[in-house]
Every structure is written in structure tokens, then in C-alpha cells.
Symmetry: C2
């Protein structure tokens, strides 16, 4: 049932344990649904309750710990055996008395894992302040440390099997972008265009269907286009307005993100000029990407183009992307920005997004790109231009 | 731009401050995107970075604190003035050195709010362990305490304006369920049916469009129907199989959730029997709901029916629902289960879900219901039966 074969998962666990050994970590509690999926195969919309994967030097395979109600889903989707699945009762659900992290601590004790250095994903969205305090109270004999996105850093280099799934996500992303471009017409309500986008995301291709991306489509129009994370309204698209679209295709939780801007009616000169500049910055970024180069060098290549055009981009030019769950398809590891000395390696994947948001407008262009042995390769095929519909 | 008028927001802040006073809280940091929206109006898919609303006895209106890039969205969607919006630079974004909670602490100092009892939403998904440790380090003169879902408890009673929006969400939910029932046919890929569901969710009605629900559609079929939070696959629906659908309509972030089961081909006797029992349990739950009754009494009324049929439901029969963001449309306050002594009041809204998941199958039926002065009222109109398509 999980989308990869057993050897892929075994290799993941092996590499994770090696990284743990290097960081002197005995046991790692992963609450990130993306990391849980990557380690165990588990897939389900159950991350609104506490759940975790436990990887330990002492254990051959990870433990899945979650709500008892979700054991059926764990049996269906994990590569693990029954002995590695532990479900807590609803007494632990949103209860003032019993926190699921206390159940987790009990499971660690049962497996002899309640001592030594135990790492947690301290800044992961699914690891709350109360989860931390509960673990500290329940594991008095352990030293609790921050894993600092250890699993995310191990999985930043994708296997060929993972890249193949990202290629499928990219076939979906191309269709999604085309559906959006087709749907945006004067008088069409924004919500109706978004309906077409979502339908294309799930329909996928004739050969394979799509999965829900970790972020909602962002399609702000007109004055809202300056607000990159504004979603949509019921208002109709208007002639003379530009819409900034940040969309994605998703397959088996792997993403291919893509941005384009659509102008209804002739493009104002200043938008056309910005589109040209951002286009050049995008190409400069791609030209700069190759193994051995740092993320900040790529950002600088991009920034140099912006500066030539009289701009300075205050936000990052790209970030690692791959397997994830809401709220983010980004991997929270490497970012293309000044100060990020991550060295590029073949198999890394980035959402390269040299978008510029100005006072009350903006222009966006992006694609998902994989680092190859000699440079990089965009996963999507889509004209890199301002889309003008007249 | 925010969907409610200023007086509604002022009343929310007033009621929140009263609850804070009762709990001896000087300043409250809300990281929950739902609570942020409820207090400030802020709406955007930016909750993959740290952001917060600060409500203080000392301040008339809340502060919005978020990423600088999202200030444009805050200006568009909040009822606040420029002086109440604070954006941090990208130096704080996913950085090892600078955590956004350190910026938050700086803002608290700037407003003279860094002393006294400061409450945080300790078990909120968007309040990480690292956020907690950072605040503790940066606010040495404050006593940091758990707000214990204070805002969520204040907003459990909805205003007439909020109920009106939930009515709109319910009009969408009815169309969503019908779209799902229409789409599920033998040979249709599950992903294609899900595409129709998503499209209906966004399209809404002719009068108003929809918003993305806080949970993905769950439509597990056949053996997967025992796994309530399994989403979907590319496999086609099969004659003889049942699909358990948990869906919602969403409007301005308010939800109306609804569950039904679809059987393709004649229903096996055991499924028809279970459907009858769950239907009776649902009606018994609704009959039990009225002001003054406790959540556990409603659960017991439901459980009594199950017991008569030889079942015992181990999970809750319902939970508070309303305004929210991924990963959950539930409000994490009241649950209909033994031990929950929450007393029902007019204006509370619940997703009443007396679903039964058995070993490798199940049957689900649910609606979103509002407590009235004399009883309760379901917000959706949809036949309460097993849907059999032959």
C-alpha cells in the first residue's frame, strides 16, 4: 500500500539513524506528518490529533503512535508490522487530564527507550508547547534535545523513486496551471476559477490521480495581488487586472509548485517590464544552480539581476520542496537567501520563486527544479511569460 | 473587508478580555489561525510561518504580528489600524538564530506588555515547543501560563451573524454532498469524484462562493472505509462497495460538516441494519440536545441506542464546530462523550457524528447542528439514510 518498496523505507531509516548517531541522538520523536509519512508510509488526515513516529537506535523499524481510531489507516498505509503500531484511546483526545505525549512516554518506557538523548522536532507545527512540557515531565531520566529538522535534512536529497513521483506531480501541476489560465476570464467569479484549479489538482492525468496539495491555491487579483497568501473572493475577474497564481500539483504527498501571473487585457508597461526582469532573474537562478554551489550564491545571482533593474528582493528566492502536509509544501531546511551556505547536491529539489511583491501589485514566476549531476532541470514545461489574455 | 462589522469584533475583544480577567490574565498571545481570524479578521494561507494576535487588558484593540510579507494581507483583511500591525523581516524566517517569538517578545516590550501573567495557547498546533522555550527565555519578567483554549471557549457560543454565515456554509455543504453522491458510480476513479467534491466546495452557490474547508474530503471506499481519515486513491469505485464520506461546506472560514455512506449495488443486510441503528442514534442525539443539558448526557442518549443494538461507541459522538483553519474544523472545546460536563447554550454549534467504525467496515451519518432556545436545529437538509445506488 505505501507508494515505495520496502527497501526504500529501510534505506530511509538507515540514513536517519546514521544522522542521529552523528548528532548523538538515541531516540527521535517525529511529529511532522511529512516526516512520519517518509519514515513509516503513514498517510491520513489525522494530524489534527497528536501522533508521532519514533525512530530509535535500539529498534530495527520505527514505531507508529497515534489515535486508536487511526490504527486501521496505519495498517493500510504503513510498511510496518502490527507490533510497531500503538494506538491510544479517546481518553487522551483533547483531554485536560491525559495528553497523548504521556501515552508516547509510556510507549517509550515499554520499549526501554525512556533514557538517553531523546530528540524532538522542536519547531514543527505538530509539536506543541504542551507536548514539550508533557514529555519533559514524563521522561525525567532522558535528556530532551532539539532534532533541528534532522529528518528533513536527511530527506532533502531525493531518491530516484521520489523524483519519479515528483515528475508525476509536475504533470499534474502543468494541467493545474493551464486550468487556471483557461478559467480566468472577465466576469468569472474567483471562486469558480478556484473550483477548476482544485478539480484539476485531484483529477490529475488519465494515468494517475492527484492528491491535495499542502497549501491552498493562492490567486489574489488586483489590489489583493500584493498580498501573496490571500486566497480568493467571490468577486469576478476584471479586465485590466492581474492575478498572481501560486499553485501546485501533488502526488503521493510530493509537490511540484508553479507560479504565473495572468493579465486580463493589455499589460501595462510597468508590469511587462517587471515580468521581463523577473524572467531574467529566474533564468539567472537556474543558470547558477549546480552541485557544489551554495544556496546563497544562487540567491545572489538572482539578486544581481533585480539590482540591475533597481529592485532588491527582501524575501528568499527559493526553498527546498518535496513531501509534505498542510500547512506547508516547503521543507523548512535550505532557503535561497543570503547567509544560507547549504551546498547543492544532485537530487535536491527547490521551488525557485524569484517573485517580486511591490506596494500594491507584484509579479510572480516560479517552477520546481531538481539539482542534477551537472546543473539543474525544471520539472515542469510551461511558457515562462506573463500570461496576457486579451 | 472582514466579513463582520466592527461592532462584532469589538464585542469579541470585550468578551475575550472579560474571560482573561476572570482567569487573571494580563496579556494573551493567540497563535491559532482561527482565533487570530476571530479576533482580528486576518485571513490568509500564511500560518506556515509564525504569526499571532496579542490581546491585552492594556490595549483597546489586538495587535497582529506576522511576517512582513504578509502585512499587505493583514491590511486587506483586518479591522485594525496600521499602528496595530507589526511585521517581522525574513531574517526571522526559518532561521536558527532568530525565532519570530523573539520578535513577538520585542513587540510586547515596546507596548509595555512584557510583565504580568501572559497566556499562550499551549496545545495549539501553531504554538511549537520552540516558540514556548523562546518566549520563556525572552520574557524573564513575565509569568507564562496556559490559556487553555480561552478564546475557543469564548467563541463556542456563536452570534447571530456567525450562525448566518454557517447557514451559508450549510447551503454549500448540501451541494457538496449531492455532488459526491452523483459522482460516485462504478468505474469512476475516486480522485475524479473528489475533484467534483472540491469543485462544489469552492463554487458554492450562485449567490456566494465557498472557501477551502479545514479538512480534506475523506471518502474511503471498501476495506478503507474502516479507516476514517484515509483520503482517496486512483482506484475506481466498485459495485458492491460502500464509501464513507466526511465532507463540509465552508464560508468565510466557518464550516458545516456532513457525513453520509454510499452503497453501490444492493446493501448487504448487516449494513442496512447498522444504518438503521446509527440513524436512530442520530435522532436520539438531536432529541437530547437543548439548553441546560450536558454534552455527556447527549452522548449517553446516543450510546444507549448503540447498546440496544449490541454496540458501544469508543469515540466521541460530536464536537464543537465553527470557524477554523487546517488541520481541523473542530474547535477542541466541548466533545459529546462521557465526562464532558459542558452545559449546552443557545448559539453553540456541534458536528453530531454518531458514526460506527467496525473491524473492516463502518457506517457514518452526521450533520452540523445549532443549539436553539428550546432544542436544536440541523443546519443542513439532506435525507438521513444510507444512500443506495443500484
Amino acid at each position: 500500500m505505501p507508494p515505495f518498496d520496502k527497501r526504500e523505507y529501510e534505506s530511509r531509516v538507515r540514513r536517519t539513524k546514521a544522522a542521529m548517531a552523528e548528532a548523538d541522538i538515541d531516540t527521535l520523536i517525529s511529529t511532522s506528518p511529512g516526516n512520519m509519512n517518509w519514515l513509516t508510509g503513514y498517510d491520513g488526515w489525522s494530524f489534527y490529533v497528536h501522533q508521532m513516529a519514533v525512530t530509535a537506535q535500539k529498534l530495527d523499524r520505527p514505531l507508529w503512535i497515534g489515535r486508536g481510531l487511526d490504527l486501521a489507516g496505519a495498517r493500510l498505509t504503513c510498511w510496518l508490522g502490527e507490533a510497531e503500531l500503538e494506538g491510544y484511546s479517546d481518553d487522551y483526545l483533547q483531554s485536560k487530564e491525559n495528553h497523548p505525549m504521556a501515552f508516547c512516554a509510556e510507549m517509550l518506557r515499554a520499549h526501554g527507550l525512556d533514557r538517553g538523548r531523546i530528540a524532538v522536532e522542536m519547531d514543527d507545527w505538530y509539536f506543541t508547547g504542551l507536548a514539550l512540557d508533557t514529555l519533559r515531565r514524563e521522561l525525567p531520566n532522558a535528556e530532551i534535545v532539539d532534532a533541528e529538522f534532522l529528518v528533513d535534512w536527511v530527506r532533502i536529497v531525493k531518491s530516484p523513486a521520489e523524483i519519479a513521483v515528483m515528475e508525476e506531480a509536475s504533470r499534474i501541476a502543468e494541467r493545474v496551471m493551464q486550468a487556471a489560465i483557461d478559467a480566468i476570464r472577465p466576469g468569472v467569479r474567483q471562486c469558480d476559477a478556484v473550483a477548476e484549479v482544485y478539480a484539476a489538482q485531484m483529477r490529475g492525468t488519465e494515468k494517475f490521480g492527484g492528491d491535495y496539495p499542502a497549501c491552498a491555491p493562492a490567486m489574489p487579483m488586483g489590489e489583493m495581488a500584493a498580498a501573496p497568501h490571500f486566497t480568493w473572493t467571490d468577486a469576478p475577474f476584471e479586465t485590466g487586472s492581474a492575478t498572481n497564481m501560486e499553485l501546485a500539483g501533488c502526488r503521493h504527498r510530493y509537490h511540484s509548485a508553479i507560479c504565473r501571473t495572468v493579465q486580463l487585457g493589455p499589460a501595462p508597461a510597468k508590469l511587462a517590464d517587471l515580468a521581463k526582469l523577473v524572467g531574467e532573474a529566474f533564468e539567472a537562478s537556474l543558470d547558477a544552480i549546480e552541485p557544489g554551489v551554495t544556496c546563497e550564491a544562487v540567491a545572489e545571482a538572482c539578486q544581481a539581476v533585480f539590482r540591475r533593474g533597481g529592485h532588491e528582493k527582501p524575501t528568499r528566492m527559493g526553498y527546498a520542496i518535496g513531501l509534505n502536509y498542510p500547512p506547508d509544501w516547503g521543507e523548512r531546511t535550505a532557503s535561497m537567501r543570503a547567509g544560507d551556505r547549504t551546498v547543492l547536491k544532485p537530487g535536491m529539489a527547490f521551488h525557485v520563486i524569484p517573485a517580486l511583491w511591490l506596494d500594491d501589485w507584484g509579479y510572480i514566476l516560479s517552477e520546481t527544479v531538481v539539482v542534477t549531476e551537472t546543473g539543474c532541470r525544471s520539472l515542469v514545461e510551461c511558457p515562462r511569460e506573463l500570461v496576457v489574455k486579451t
